[in-house]
């Protein structure tokens, strides 16, 4: 079990890679396991799942090493969870990093809106 707190500042991990951010978003709802995480991220595209399993677990390992997520013990798993699967949950540190990443992305979008590169909320196209 990795440590739930990192000795690094959350800002040191920004910007997050899109896949890592997506995983944090999925896990911030509730703990989940490998395929279910990807299923929720990719939302069933027409061509099927595109992420190979090795890729996913490689990224999950890295996120565990960075203390962004951890393996969920039995008490933290959602009701009806399959006992044979390995579930992951977001750590408080990981949640903080996700919040900072979301704030960073919002600032980027706001900048784009101010430059008229994207329509702003409530503004007709």
């Amino acid at each position: 079990m990795s440590e739930t707190e990192s000795d690094r500042a959350p800002e040191a991990l920004l910007p997050l890679k899109p896949l890592e951010f997506s995983i944090l978003l999925v896990l911030s709802r509730e703990p989940s396991y490998g395929y279910e995480i990807v299923h929720r991220i990719e939302d069933r595209p027409a061509g099927g799942i595109h992420l190979a399993p090795g890729n996913l677990y490689h990224v999950l390992d890295r996120m565990v090493d960075d203390a962004l997520i951890e393996e969920a013990d039995a008490s933290a798993r959602p009701e009806g969870a399959d006992g044979r699967r390995r579930y992951y949950a977001v750590t408080p540190f990981g949640r903080r990093v996700a919040e900072l990443e979301a704030a960073r992305l919002r600032a980027v979008v706001e900048t784009a809106e101010s430059l008229d590169l994207v329509p702003g909320a409530g503004r007709p196209e």
């Binding site: 490998g34 395929y35 799942i49 190979a52 890729n55 490689h58 390992d61 390995r86």
Partner: protein, 892 residues
């Protein structure tokens, strides 16, 4: 754990094995579950194509991730091994560490080897993958080798395959015992249909087919049924649809059978839905099948050759036996019909029909890319030899202090295997990228490209190709370098003079082989370039520049009356002609340079010709100012025009070829010919327009649609010639069509130049690829020559120093080096030219109007190779002139 319904256990195991052991142990079970879940969601029960795509995606991602993990692991081990003594390390792991450290000291060597291997292996893998998908992969139909297509042939021209008359097909079906099923279908002139039911009409492909068609090609509707024999009638308003149409237009309703679709304004009852993933073997894009009319009479007579047929051989019957029976039946048909006694039947296996000429093109390209790989491997072998020689002093020292010879050989071999593995992986990456490129530039008509992917077979092929290569080109230099006597290696200059000379001879021999192989590719490419140039220069008789074509189909339901069709086309032409920027607008039912078709009996009517004299001439229906639009000039008489209306006597224009054949030595204008039961008068003669991209011409009769539109519903290709600088005419054309009838669809828009170009797309593709291979091979050969000459200069530095010290000019020294290069090039040419004379015969099926042993091509190719060698020799030659005699003596 075995999961029922989950194929690919072996492949799953292979993929997981690519990952490092530690990762596998930690996540193996999770990854297995993941793959099974993803399989169930994305591929299970969706056919072989979906399965192939699934595994290609997973394999591609796994290879990338596994490679990254292993390289990271190697790097970590390297860092930890840096603190260990060389003598203390032992076993394979130590060899790999030492090999990596050695390579890290000379990164350029490693990078060059990996790049050269990646190029050769990648190109080979890419071409093999296309070959595999198109030619080697079994057709996705049950018992594909039992499916044959039936043609009619002429005994005078047995190689030419023709369509069948309906009575002939019915006779075969009734009497042929060699088939479990024989079915008719129509694809002589597929027009498609407008399918309505959505927001706007959609153009779909439609094939009329008879009873037993689906059983012949190995499928059955999973809902409903196929057509029955009693439904082979024109008034049978039925349809069988694909799974996709069922999903989009019938809402995937399990009770959709009995529902209706509207095709060209005609309601058809859906009687069957085909399984998902099924694609028609002859027309993969077809969406709907309708019953083929086989009722005797009407156009189902012995003189109308328009039907196609497919059969499934009965168990135990060979193609030859079935062919013999068809030939015998055709002879019996000769007793029933006076025309059939000069004819025979031909059976062609489905594979040959589907793959067609693409197969020979692909085998050719695979051979060429094999030569390229040979050049790449020889190049790498050369690099290894040079490196082994450069390390001979190091080897000698280690041998002198107790390192065993076997150990040294193993270390060099390990280096070559490591590089070949990395090169192989890099080659797979290059191959995957090239596959995408090949798909993008592949000519139209190359079948089965949708099945192309980076699957397990391709992976295995790439790895199997590279690993033996790695051992091979590492073995010779490894053994030789380890054999250098210690004293010699440590002796004057530490270069092992004698062995260096032997190495130089071996390297020269390898480079000569490289030059020969590259020259063969050069010559092959040169022949194709010349052939392609001849094709492109062929006189087509038309001017395709600035001409746009498109089609508008008039459905029978609303344009059943000839007067309605004639009025529509006349009005369309008038409005198109009036658009700004339009030079001329017309239409024709079969565009030029797209092959012969609609060959009907055309009998001249003059007293000294027997009534039974029969000439087959291509019939074409034109409208508007077609001849002006495509630049076909008038030779005699006049063109068709407003005076040739529906109520006027029937008139036609013929081409020069027909006029010369039917009326030799006299003017054809004013003469009469009999076509389709009517006498028509010739009012004009135009120049010949080619029927294929090679400029071949044939006899053609042009009818005015205003007069011939009552024969049938001709689907005309609109042909609009624009003035230079005029913009795109299509938006205006769409608007005009919409104004005339908002329910019509304008489709198939293409420049006429592209229509013409499609006919040579295969030749262009082959030429471009072979030229690219030749270019790369020449580059590699140049690198090989450069490497050898550079080592020659290095080895002979003292000699050059002495010569310069004794007063030799720079050009004298340069000449020595260049002569060495020229000697290798000359020897390579002596090998390569005879090899090319043999191998270029393989190009005979793909060249036109050019000899595969054209001497000018050979001369130009040898000249080109000489130029490459000259450039490659220049730098070492220049360096040889910069040798400082004092430095040279000091080093000595």
């Amino acid at each position: 754990m075995t999961s029922p319904g989950f194929p690919g256990q072996g492949l799953l195991h292979l993929l997981l094995r690519l990952h490092p052991r530690e990762f596998r142990e930690r996540h193996g079970e999770e990854m297995r579950r993941y793959l099974r879940d993803a399989w169930r969601a994305d591929a299970a029960g969706r056919g072989p194509l979906a399965a192939l795509r699934f595994w290609a995606r997973m394999a591609g991602g796994t290879v990338r991730t596994a490679l990254s993990q292993r390289l990271g692991l190697l790097a970590r081990r390297l860092r930890s091994a840096a603190g260990r003594e060389i003598a203390g390390a032992s076993g394979g792991r130590g060899d790999v560490v030492r090999a990596l450290r050695s390579l890290r000291r000379r990164p350029v060597f490693g990078v060059v080897v990996v790049l050269v291997l990646a190029l050769g292996l990648g190109a080979n893998t890419a071409v093999f993958s296309v070959l595999h998908a198109v030619v080697l992969t079994p057709l996705p139909y049950p018992g594909p080798d039992r499916i044959v297509r039936l043609y009619r042939t002429d005994l005078d021209a047995p190689g030419e395959r023709n369509y069948l008359p309906a009575p002939a097909f019915l006779h075969y079906r009734e009497h042929a015992g060699s088939f479990t099923v024989l079915a008719a279908f129509y694809d002589y002139d597929l027009q498609g249909a407008d399918l309505t039911g959505g927001d706007r009409p959609e153009r779909v492909e439609v094939v009329p087919a008879g009873a037993g068609y689906f059983r012949a090609v190995g499928t059955e509707p999973f809902l409903g049924r196929a057509f029955r024999r009693d439904e082979e009638r024109e008034d049978a308003r039925l349809a069988v649809v694909t799974h996709d149409i069922w999903r989009r237009y019938l809402e995937a309703d399990p009770d959709a059978v009995g529902g209706t679709l509207v095709l060209d304004g005609v309601e058809r009852t859906v009687v069957g839905v085909l399984p998902e993933g099924f694609r028609d073997p002859f027309h993969p894009e077809v969406d709907v099948w309708v019953p083929q009319d086989l009722v005797p009479g009407g156009y189902n007579h012995w003189d109308n050759y328009y039907l196609s047929a497919v059969g499934r051989l009965a168990p135990g019957v060979s193609v030859e036996e079935a062919r013999a029976e068809i030939e015998a039946l055709t002879r019996r048909q000769g007793e029933l019909d006076s025309g059939a006694e000069d004819e025979s039947g031909e059976l062609v296996p489905l594979r040959e029909v589907v793959v067609g000429e693409a197969g020979s093109m692909l085998w050719l390209l695979w051979g060429a890319v094999g030569l390229l790989l040979l050049v790449a491997c020889v190049n790498v072998a050369n690099l290894f030899i040079a490196r082994a020689l450069a390390r001979s002093r190091e080897m000698a020292i280690r041998s002198a202090v107790g390192g065993g010879r076997g150990h040294l050989v193993r270390e060099i071999l390990t280096e070559s295997v490591v590089l070949s593995v990395v090169g192989a992986l890099a080659g797979l990456g290059v191959g995957a990228a090239l596959i995408r490129g090949l798909i993008a530039v592949a000519p139209p008509g190359v079948p089965r490209l949708d099945a192309l992917g980076f699957g397990p077979t391709i992976l295995v092929y790439g790895v199997a190709l590279s690993l033996p290569a790695g051992l091979l080109f590492g073995l010779a230099p490894a053994v030789r370098a380890a054999r250098i006597p210690v004293a010699e290696a440590l002796g004057s200059g530490g270069r092992g003079r004698t062995e260096a000379r032997r190495h130089a001879r071996l390297r020269s021999a390898l480079v000569i082989g490289e030059v020969a192989a590259a020259l063969v590719l050069f010559i092959g490419a040169g022949v194709l370039v010349k052939s392609f140039h001849r094709i492109r220069s062929a006189e087509l008789g038309i001017d395709a520049g600035g001409v746009t074509t498109f089609r508008v189909h008039l459905p029978d339901a609303r344009y059943g009356e000839p007067a309605d069709r004639i009025r529509f086309h006349e009005e369309l032409q008038r409005r198109l002609e009036a658009l700004p920027g339009v030079r001329a607008a017309g239409a024709i039912h079969a565009l030029p340079v797209t092959g012969e078709s609609w060959i009907w009996g055309t009998r001249p009517r003059y007293p000294d010709v027997r009534e039974t004299e029969y000439y087959g001439a291509n019939q074409r229906v034109v409208e508007g100012r077609y001849f002006e639009a495509v630049g076909l000039s008038l030779v005699q008489g006049r063109l068709l025009g407003a005076e040739d209306g529906p109520g006027d006597p029937r008139r036609v224009v013929v081409n020069r070829a027909l006029a010369g054949r039917l009326f030799p030595g006299m003017s054809a204008v004013g003469r009469t010919v009999r076509i389709a039961g009517s006498d028509v008068r010739i009012v004009g003669v135009v120049e010949d327009a080619a029927v294929d991209p090679l400029g071949r011409t044939t006899e053609i009769v042009y009818h005015d649609h205003s007069q011939f539109g009552d024969n049938r519903n001709w689907e005309l290709h609109q042909v609009v010639a624009l003035r230079s600088g005029a913009g795109d005419v299509l938006p205006a054309a769409r608007r005009i069509v919409g104004e005339l009838d908002p329910r019509l669809v304008l489709f198939g828009a293409r420049p006429l130049a592209e229509v013409v170009g499609r006919g040579v797309a295969r030749e262009r593709f082959t030429m471009l690829l072979l030229t690219a291979f030749a270019g790369v091979a020449a580059l590699l050969a140049a690198v090989g020559i450069y490497g050898v000459l550079a080592s020659v200069v290095s080895r002979r530095r003292p000699e050059f120093g002495v010569r310069v010290a004794l007063g030799a000019m720079g050009r004298d020294v340069r000449r020595l080096v260049v002569r060495e290069g020229a000697r290798m090039a000359g020897a390579g040419a002596l090998l390569g030219v005879p090899a090319a004379l043999l191998l270029t015969r393989l190009l005979e099926s793909v060249v036109h109007d050019v000899s595969v042993t054209d001497p000018w091509v050979f001369i130009a190719s040898v000249g080109g190779m000489v130029a490459v060698v000259a450039v490659a020799s220049w730098i070492p030659a220049w360096r040889a002139t910069r040798v400082d005699p004092v430095e040279a003596f000091r080093a000595e």
